[in-house]
Subunit: 357 residues, 2 copies
DNA sequence: AGGGTGGCCTTGATCGATCCAATGACACCA
DNA sequence: TGGTGTCATTGGATCGATCAAGGCCACCCT
């Protein structure tokens, strides 16, 4: 990274530092009660007589008291923090989805009395970040987001008995013959999403609907693909020759769609991502075909791009707000009853219909 | 928000809870030294004799010890956390810029030994989030990002003597006749960015370059606009009739560009945002004009959209990685020497040239 | 009257690290 | 032998909250 050579101004003195904030003892003295009573006024108000409570609350208000987090954390062995690792800032729609999720998570956590602590993955070992936070008891739990193909985090956290909820189903554990996941998870039913998209296109009169997805070793990709085949076969339509599996780049989507248009001549495309769908739009542009009017296209993720590209890209939208709600509620359950793992939760995406279909 | 009706599985028992992590005393006992010596081994290793140090370090490694964050925080009155508020998850390029910044900030903070705590703004009072974290000493400092037009956060934090660094210059304080800012800040020189963009277009042979920006009450918008006028006037070119100030939406950009094409007949557009630039692309599409070949377009923010829209949107790119570096370093300075406010830092953006110019 | 009961509040101990002042070990020198 | 300075190490106090007991008092019951 090349450092930008900055233009700087001049330094100058600053106003004095803040006084130390009031403590429980300060409030207690002012209200004429003991520390414990103040503590109860905050954590178990119904243990106090109404008049005492009022007196304490007034003292709290006057002094602007708020419990010291560190002290409380030490005593209660709790931090009210949820740790979440964010990957390197690669550009891409997956990243945008994560950002949208983070927003929802922060919002939902706040309502549950938690804050979100972000940490970066060390370049090397992916678990060092988790390990450090865990051993220093800096967070109460984790939200793990990258559970695709055999990533080590989930297994490692399970082994450490660390409380965490996964956004993403435990693919390995769900295979027949394997044990159930030993951790709670929330996921979006990708197959249902692509099925929704395909059904939408079928309704519009299309019957030659192509699929452009990811390589076969992507569990998520194959899951999404299965929704397309299910919808097609459900109508008695063949899928042979209509599918392509490529890298998740615009160029790949462009090539794949060009090839498919030349061979199977589909009138519509369902894609595993908005990125691939953008590739299709490129191809249509090259050939003077109008998206929506001549050839329909549906993407996946409802990214910013899908919303602004002319004429608007129809896309499967993950209900990330709902995911966050279920993640937090699973987290609360986990922390309240550590002995029981809540069941996995599968949510259904929706379809944002735009000009491209 | 409509709750998605989830499909759930079955609950089942979970593995036993983790044992309590080792403490300083455990390490001390195992290494045959006192607690303080272990503490020194961690915080001031050079105070120990090499052989003692080695013994302690081995004990630390064997037990997998890591200092309890809460205890350390309580004693040192520090949390190693940087608080940052994120706004509601509105969709837009501004949001995407912030997300890119958050990534960089998390990364840079990690290197400085800090974590990033995200919190959501309460719907009502914008300072309650700050206030709560501050009074409970949950964070060491804040990064304030939304410093545009007289927002109350900066002034409020200053008054509270809260340590914070702003991403965004203190517009009010920089006006002549007003005091200097009393807090450190880092910003990107928007005018330099649009000047860069305009100069780029001038080099390409354009001389009728239009501006589409935000309404006049936007400080950032006027700043970016000034770069365009500066570049134009520098070449002795007039700007009258070539500018339009609208809302930051695609529709506005579309209308404004359509209007300008009909009146001033520019051969190129410089826009205050990628969103507006997308509006221009829409207009060009409507009229069968090819971006880049027939009419050049430059956006601002180098968003995801700019990168994927055909044929690629040339855009001013903010050096957010550098911003994060300077923000964190200002933060470190602030926490190390609270009595001195470092000077403001202004960084220069770059231009990501793509097919649209 | 004595003892039990429950409501309300207080006291002392504790969480696990760091700060502080003091002690021990050791070499060196008078 | 005793003094002195340096340096590693020690024990105790502390940060500010909560937990676990226990005290006080009014009230009720037999």
């Amino acid at each position: 990274m090349s450092r930008n050579e900055p233009v700087v101004g001049r330094a100058y003195p600053r106003l004095p530092m803040p006084v130390t904030p009031p403590t429980l003892a300060d409030v207690a003295e002012r209200a004429g009660v003991s520390r414990q009573t103040v503590s109860n006024a905050i954590n178990n108000p119904d243990l106090l007589r109404p008049d005492t409570l009022a007196r304490v609350q007034e003292a709290i208000a006057v002094l602007g008291y708020s419990p010291n987090r560190a002290a409380r954390n030490l005593r209660t062995r709790t931090s009210q923090l949820i740790g979440m690792r964010i990957g390197p800032a690669q550009e891409g729609t997956a990243n945008a989805t994560m950002d949208r999720f983070v927003h929802s998570l922060v919002e939902t956590s706040r309502e549950a009395g938690y804050h979100v602590l972000l940490f970066a993955g060390d370049g090397g070992d992916p678990v060092v970040g988790y390990d450090a936070l865990l051993r220093s008891t800096a967070v109460d739990a984790f939200v793990v987001t990258d559970t695709y193909l055999g990533n080590p985090q989930a297994a490692w956290l399970e082994e450490r008995r660390a409380p965490f909820v996964a956004f993403g189903r435990p693919w390995d554990a769900l295979r027949p013959g394997t044990d159930q996941a030993r951790h709670p998870w929330v996921d979006v039913d990708g197959a249902a999403g692509t099925e929704l998209a395909t059904a939408h296109l079928l309704e519009k009169g299309h019957d030659r609907i192509a699929w452009i997805g990811w390589r076969k070793d992507s569990r998520i990709g194959e899951d999404r693909r299965s929704g397309w085949t299910r919808a097609m076969h459900g109508r008695g339509l063949a899928t042979t020759g209509l599918a392509s599996r490529v890298e998740d780049t615009i160029a790949s989507g462009r090539e794949a769609s060009a090839h498919l248009l030349g061979s199977a001549r589909p009138s519509a495309f369902v894609c595993a991502s908005d990125t691939l769908a953008m590739g299709v739009l490129h191809t249509l542009g090259d050939r003077g075909l109008r998206p929506g009017a001549d050839v329909a296209v549906v993407g996946f993720d409802d990214s910013q791009v899908a919303q602004v590209v002319p004429p608007g890209l129809t896309s499967v939208r993950q209900p990330l707000e709902d995911v966050a709600v279920h993640v937090v509620s699973a987290l609360e359950g986990l922390l309240a009853h550590p002995a029981v793992v809540g069941p996995g939760v599968m949510l259904t995406p929706t379809l944002a219909v735009r000009g491209s279909s």
